[in-house]
Each structure stands twice: as structure tokens, then as C-alpha cells.
Symmetry: C2
Subunit: 473 residues, 2 copies
């Protein structure tokens, strides 16, 4: 196991060199965080389909419990129960549009992860950095539990638990717990826990910050200990359900599912669940006693329990929905936590948008009206007033606006239209509108995946490291 | 699936070109023999240990249910539930001794399989061809169910079911059902079913042929159909037991086993079985209600039921032992079938040698005395007389000798001493004599194997083919 220890120390050193300004030592947040036995216990796996490019290269790494799809090179890294989903990578010949530039890709894009330690992290989409079109780079970086790295090159960073870096290139930053960032590019910054910040320079800027004391109940990270709080308790309580499906090699779903839908065999589907057509349930999603209407999706690390999703609902990576009814086309952003209860259900009207990293934890029944944007922290119906706005009201804004702790600056219409078109893009990409022959998306392309399993050396000085493995079509 | 069909036809063509003299069409013995669904159903797997060199390369092949260890390159081949065991390959720097030559190896040996279709075949040991020291070659070859290719380069051959090619280089040969060959080199020959032939030119020549009509009850192969007979029925009846152990990814043995022993997690161990120290049970072995004495081993495709093996017993690849008591150091050769019954048990005295491909199928209790060589077909105590010889009697022979249908020519002492030293070598290699620190062998080195699983494309024109996979340390 000597080499695995060396690898961890080497990664800490690399990240710390990047983080010398701001001065930050990732060591106490990483050392001993995942017991060594865990790094040896779980197999890694990769998907093979005729619909995705295939090119993997794994070298001098530990990949415990992690999943890979598409094209991905990993070297000198520890990837613990992470999902590296290369099904939206750019392809050779694609044209990348950026501020008037039209740049053709000269090769298929590849995810490149090196000198990094990712814990239960989701990597998805493709690099939105115009400087690195063929490479989606994650380097000299530590990401904690349930981080989303979405379309973002990340170099020399520490990403706190349940944080999301979305379409943003990051250099040498420390990102706090539950931060959501979508700001194009950021360097040498420390972003405090609970910040939700969407910024498109010269167009709009949306920001909110969760109350730090309140947030600690949900998620907190302290030196030398794993993250703690309601979010962690919630997922830990359901860990056992996943064990069973990881223990067997091939698993036939006990559920008949509708045309055009796909339930990943590494998802947990519990009774009584209804899966309608064109539904996509990704690996590590958890669905229980829920109606998934036509074209609805549940992405990685989503938990949807005791709920009814009417159709074409997007539930982004890591979102949780409990005791809720979501009308048609409701969007729930990354890592949002929507917790109703039997006697305090949540109802959201159609086409409403739940901002990423929103916490709804109900003490009474709450209704969020149709075509609203909701953010922040909602516990009662009264909280909805200070944490939401009608989309048409937001679209009419030009200049500065504030409501509760939310600040908006810029062109509201661009913000709303941008969000709407992104939701449409997600639904299309996921195959929500597939008629069987056209508008095929992830749901249809993911129906026939073969999974190959990799394990590390079980003994000797290489114990815990995987051999060098290269796979291509 | 188009490519998989093309691959099969291409293999048939390659083998038939080699077998134009003797003119033989392998097509009817291969086409449709394994249903296409089977070729897609079972995962392939390879072992990773710190004790074996690691280098795999798989390309344009179907590997359904097959197992790989050591160094192995497979291209344009179909390997169905075969075991490619590279744990006895020669290493760089080894000195190969051959008739006065001492040839140092300039590289690790690699098993190279191309343009071939192997069905439930075992490949083991290392190439004994002095012309190909670094390559153990299997090319343009079809092997049927339960063939053993042991230390033998094979080019352009058809190997019938339950045949064994042992330490013999074969070119352009057709080998019948249940043939055992250990003759150094053979080209352009057809060997009839049931032949057992051991020949060391200028030293000795042992030969026997099973009665063709009697053999058909045990194993027969006809054009266009899978092999049939008692051997096939016996293994098919126990197939279900293996399903369970292949379905789960990692399996902890429910048995406590003794120091220095190893039970492969892909073996079936049924109650009430006793595993003593330094016992080796290989993958795809089946043990039920049996006492495995210290240093005993059960190799691939062995079945040992309701028996007592006193210790240091070698049960070679594919041998079956039912209702038998085997004293110390009894050797049972490849694919032998020793079937006693509750009221007709078999007893074999110590240090006796059961020739490969011997059938003992008892109608009454039978005792084979100590230090005897037994061959052929034994049903009663009377049959033992015509199918065995005391080792010291055999060692005294010089010249021609016959007993029953067995013919011997040459130096009996060389034959007996050669056999004895080979048995000692096998026991040493398997770790039968390990004291915990010295004389470590397969039993001890195989205790901590990680298994990685590979599956083919599940869809599209590549359906059934595995992607290109390269693995090294």
C-alpha cells in the first residue's frame, strides 16, 4: 500500500502549490478522510455502448467505486465513487462558438484528470473554456463529497462538499461548502460557503448567500473530519440500498419500463414507482414511491421520494425531492434539497425554476406558483415571497434589483431566456422529446450499456493502485 | 452483431486453409455450436496479483466467460469460457534447456492467441517449442469443449472435445475426441478418437486406444451438433452451481480454510468439504463432500465428489473423481474420469499414477494397488489386471511390451522416472510443500487475486465484440 500513501501525499503537495495564494492547506481536509480500506473495497467500472466514443486510459491511480463513460484519461489521481460522464463531450469537427469566434474541433474532446483527489464527485458536460477545446481538464484539485464539476476546467482548487462549478473555468480557488458558481472564469479567490452566484459579464449577475449558521445544520466541513449535517445524514441513511445493486454483475430490472426510457442498472428504484416514456434515470439515482412523468429525468445522486413529477421535469445532478408534486417542466437545479413531509407537502406550478442549491425544508404545506424562479431557503409559505419572483417580472428588470438576500444586476430578459433555453437543451439532450426515431437522447442511447469492472491490486506495495489500463473501440 | 458473424467465418477459413492437407472442414463443428446469445451473455475476467507479470491485449475478439492471468495477447479470436492461465510462463533471463542447448530468454513469455476459436479450453504451462521461446502460440485453431492445451504451440488444428495436447507442438493436425498426445511435435496428422500416446523419440513410446464404440457412450462429436455422452451430461448437470458464483462481483468464501491453501472464488465448494493446508483449488473446479488432504490440488474443470484424497494428490486439469479414496501422492491425469459409486467405491494405493484420459466406471468395488500405473478402461477388479502395471515392473522394461490394448516400446525406467519427476514438479509448483516462507507455489500466490470484468458491446454492429483493451502493470 506504500504507493497509495505516496500518491495521496503527492496530490496534497500539488494542490497546495497552486493554493499558495490564497494560502490554503488541503491536507487536513483529505488525509484520513476516506479510510484506506474503502479505497480498496469498491470496484471501478466503465460503460461501453455503440453510441459513445470510447477511449480510456488509467495510470498510477486509485479509482475506487468510480464510473467512466466516453473518453477519459486519469493519471496520478484518486477518484472515490465519482462519476466521470463523457457523454456530452465535444466531437471532432464540432464548431465551438464563443463571442463571435467559430472554432472547429480538430479532435474528440477528452476528460483529463491528473494529480487530483475527487470524492463522490460528478464530472459532466464538456469544457466551456475556449482555451482548451479538446481537453476537459481537472488537475491539482481536491473535490469533497457530492461536488459537481459541470462543463468546467478546474486547476489547483479545493472544492467543498456539495459545491457546484458550472460552465466556469477555475484557477487556484478555494470553494466553500454548498457554493454554486456559474461565472465563466475565476482565479485566486475564496468563495464562502452557501454562495450562489451566476454571472455573465456585461449581461447579468445573480447572487445570494445562505445564512452561514442555518447552512451548518445542512452541511458543514471541519478540518480532519468528513462533512456533516442533514445532507450527509440523508444520503448515508440510503447507502445500504446501493450495496445490493453493486454486488451483482448484471442486473435485470424487476420493473417493466416504458418505451424510450432508461433506468441505469446502478440506480435504486423502489416501489411503488412509475416510469413513463422517455424517462432517464442515471446511475446512483434513487427513486422511491414516485411517479416519473413522460420525459422526466433523475440525474446522478438525485433522490426522489414520495413525489409526483408530471413530465419533462429536469432534476439536476444531486437534487433531492421528497413529498412534492412538480407540475410539467419544473426544473430543479443542482444539489437542491426540497424536503416536504406527509403533512407539509410541496407543490410547484408548471415551468417554475428552482435555482441550484436551493433548500426547501417545510414546516407547513407550501405552494410555489407556476412560472416562478425560487432560490435560497424556504420553510413556510411566507418565505416564498422573499425567495421567489415571477419569471415575467424578472424578465422586465433592467439594472439593479434586490429581494430578501438576493441581488440581481443587469438584463432580466437575458437571464430568463438563457435559463429557459438551457432547460430546453437539457430536455432535448436527455431524449425527453423522442418519438422513437428522431430527437434521440441520453435516455434512448443509454439503454444498452455494457459495464466492465476494474479492481486494484489486492496485495503488496501496489495494493490499492489499479494497473495501467487502456481501452478504445 | 455483423462483425461477430464475420469473425467466426474468418476463423473457419483460416483453420481450413491450414487443414487442406489433411482435408478437413471445421465449419460444421463450429457454426451454430455455441448460440450467439451465449457469446454475449457471460463476462470475461482477468486476474491481477503482485506475484505475476501483467500484460493483456485484447483486440477484435469475443472473450465470453473466459479467464486470463499473466501475459496474454488475443486478436481476431473467439474464446468461450476458456481459461488462459499464464502463471507458469517463462520469464526474461530464464534458461531454456533443450537437447544440450541452453537458451536464455530475452523477454517474458506471452501467450498469443489469434484467428482461433477455443471452447471451454484450458491453456496452461508454457511453450515447450524450442523454436518459440518467448511466444506461446495458438493460431488458426479450433478447440472443442474441455480441451487442454498444455505447454503446446498449436497452429492450424482442430482439437476434438476432451482432447489434451501436452508439451507437444502441433501443425495442421486433426485431433479426435478424448485424444491425449505428448509426443514433442506432430504435423499433418489425423489422430483417431480415444488415442493416448506418449512418445519421447529414441527413449520410449506408450500408446493405447480406447475402444471406439465404448468411448462413444462417454464422448462423441458429430457434425453440426455439440459433443454428447456421459462426460457432457456429467458437467452439464452441475452447470447451475457455477451460475451463482459468477453472478456476484466479490465473494467471500463461507469456509474457513487452512494455512497456505487457496480456493479460487470461481470454484464451487459444497458441503461437507475439508480443505487442508497448502491445498490449491483452481477456478472452475467443483468439490463436494470431499476431504482434500494437505497439499492436494484440484485444477481447472476438475470435479471431486464424495471422495477422500489423503494428501499431495495431483488432480490434473479436467479430471473427475467420484466416490473414491486416493492414498497419498496419487496422481490423476488430465480428463480422467474415475467414477465409483456408494456400493462400488474406488480405492487407489499411494503413489499410483492414473494415466491421462483413463476411464474408471465401476460396477463393483475396485482397488488399484500402490505404486501402479493404470490406464485405459476399468469397470471391474478383473479389468485392473489388463489396464495396470506395477511401476517397478514397468521400470524394468527395455524394448517392446504389451498388456491388453497398451503397447510400450523403449526404456521403462526413463518413462517412470520422467513421470515421477513431473509429479514432483507439479506439487512444488502448486505449493504443496510450502512451510509458510519457502517453497511458495500457486496455492500461496493465488490467495489475493483481484478480478476485473470485461463485457462486449451490447448493441449495434459491434455487438458481441469486446473493445480493444490493453492492461499492464
Amino acid at each position: 500500500m506504500e504507493r497509495l500513501h505516496e500518491l495521496l501525499e503527492r496530490i496534497i503537495q500539488r494542490v497546495n502549490i497552486n493554493l499558495r495564494e490564497p494560502m490554503f492547506d488541503v491536507g487536513p481536509y483529505v488525509r484520513g478522510l476516506i479510510p484506506w480500506q474503502q479505497l480498496i473495497k469498491f470496484y471501478a467500472f466503465y460503460g461501453i455502448t455503440p453510441h459513445h466514443p470510447l477511449n480510456f486510459h488509467f495510470c498510477r491511480s486509485n479509482l475506487s467505486g468510480s464510473y467512466f463513460l466516453g473518453k477519459c484519461h486519469v493519471s496520478d489521481a484518486i477518484l472515490y465513487k465519482s462519476d466521470i460522464r463523457g457523454d456530452e463531450l465535444k466531437r471532432k469537427g464540432d464548431i465551438f462558438q464563443f463571442e463571435g469566434f467559430e472554432i472547429p474541433l480538430h479532435d474528440d474532446e477528452t476528460i483529463r484528470i491528473k494529480d487530483s483527489y475527487l470524492i463522490k464527485t460528478l464530472v459532466h458536460s464538456n469544457s466551456h473554456d475556449p482555451e482548451n477545446l479538446e481537453d476537459f481538464i481537472i488537475q491539482n484539485t481536491v473535490s469533497a463529497h457530492y461536488t459537481n464539476i459541470h462543463g468546467s476546467d478546474v486547476e489547483g482548487c479545493f472544492l467543498g462538499p456539495f459545491s457546484t462549478v458550472d460552465l466556469t473555468t477555475l484557477h487556484d480557488c478555494v470553494i466553500g461548502e454548498y457554493v454554486y458558481l456559474q461565472v465563466r472564469e475565476l482565479a485566486h479567490r475564496q468563495i464562502p460557503a452557501g454562495t450562489v452566484w451566476v454571472s455573465n459579464p456585461d449581461r447579468f449577475d445573480f447572487s445570494f448567500r445562505h445564512d452561514p449558521e442555518n447552512l451548518k445544520k445542512y452541511i458543514r466541513l471541519e478540518r480532519g473530519a468528513p462533512p456533516d449535517g442533514i445532507f450527509m445524514t440523508f444520503v448515508d441513511q440510503r447507502k445500504g440500498e446501493f450495496q445490493r445493486i453493486f454486488d451483482v454483475v448484471n442486473l435485470k430490472s424487476p420493473f417493466a419500463f416504458a418505451q424510450g426510457s432508461s433506468l441505469n442498472r446502478y440506480a435504486v428504484i423502489k416501489p411503488k414507482t412509475q416510469i413513463s416514456q422517455n424517462v432517464l434515470v442515471a446511475q446512483r439515482a434513487y427513486i422511491e414511491n414516485t411517479w416519473m412523468g413522460s420525459g422526466a429525468n433523475a440525474q446522478e445522486n438525485c433522490y426522489i421520494l414520495h413525489s409526483r413529477l408530471h413530465g419533462n421535469n429536469v432534476t439536476a445532478h444531486g437534487a433531492k425531492i421528497i413529498h412534492a408534486e412538480l407540475e410539467n417542466k419544473v426544473f430543479v437545479g443542482f444539489n437542491s434539497f426540497l424536503q416536504g413531509a406527509v403533512d407539509a407537502p410541496l407543490h410547484i406550478g408548471e415551468k417554475s425554476i428552482v435555482m441550484p442549491h436551493t433548500i426547501v425544508d417545510l414546516a407547513e404545506p407550501v405552494h410555489i406558483p407556476a412560472e416562478h424562479l425560487v432560490w435560497g431557503f424556504v420553510r413556510t409559505q411566507k418565505d416564498v415571497v422573499e425567495n421567489s419572483i415571477a419569471l415575467n417580472e424578472l424578465a422586465a428588470i433592467s439594472g439593479y434589483f434586490e429581494r430578501g438576500a438576493m441581488r440581481f444586476q443587469g438584463d432580466g430578459r437575458l437571464f430568463v431566456d438563457g435559463f429557459k433555453s438551457r432547460i430546453e437543451h437539457i430536455l432535448e439532450a436527455n431524449g425527453a422529446y423522442c418519438d422513437g426515431t428522431t430527437q434521440i437522447g441520453h435516455a434512448q442511447r443509454s439503454q444498452n450499456i455494457s459495464f466492465n469492472l476494474m479492481q486494484p491490486y489486492a496485495d503488496g506495495e501496489l495494493k490499492g493502485l489499479y494497473p495501467t489500463i487502456a481501452i478504445h473501440s
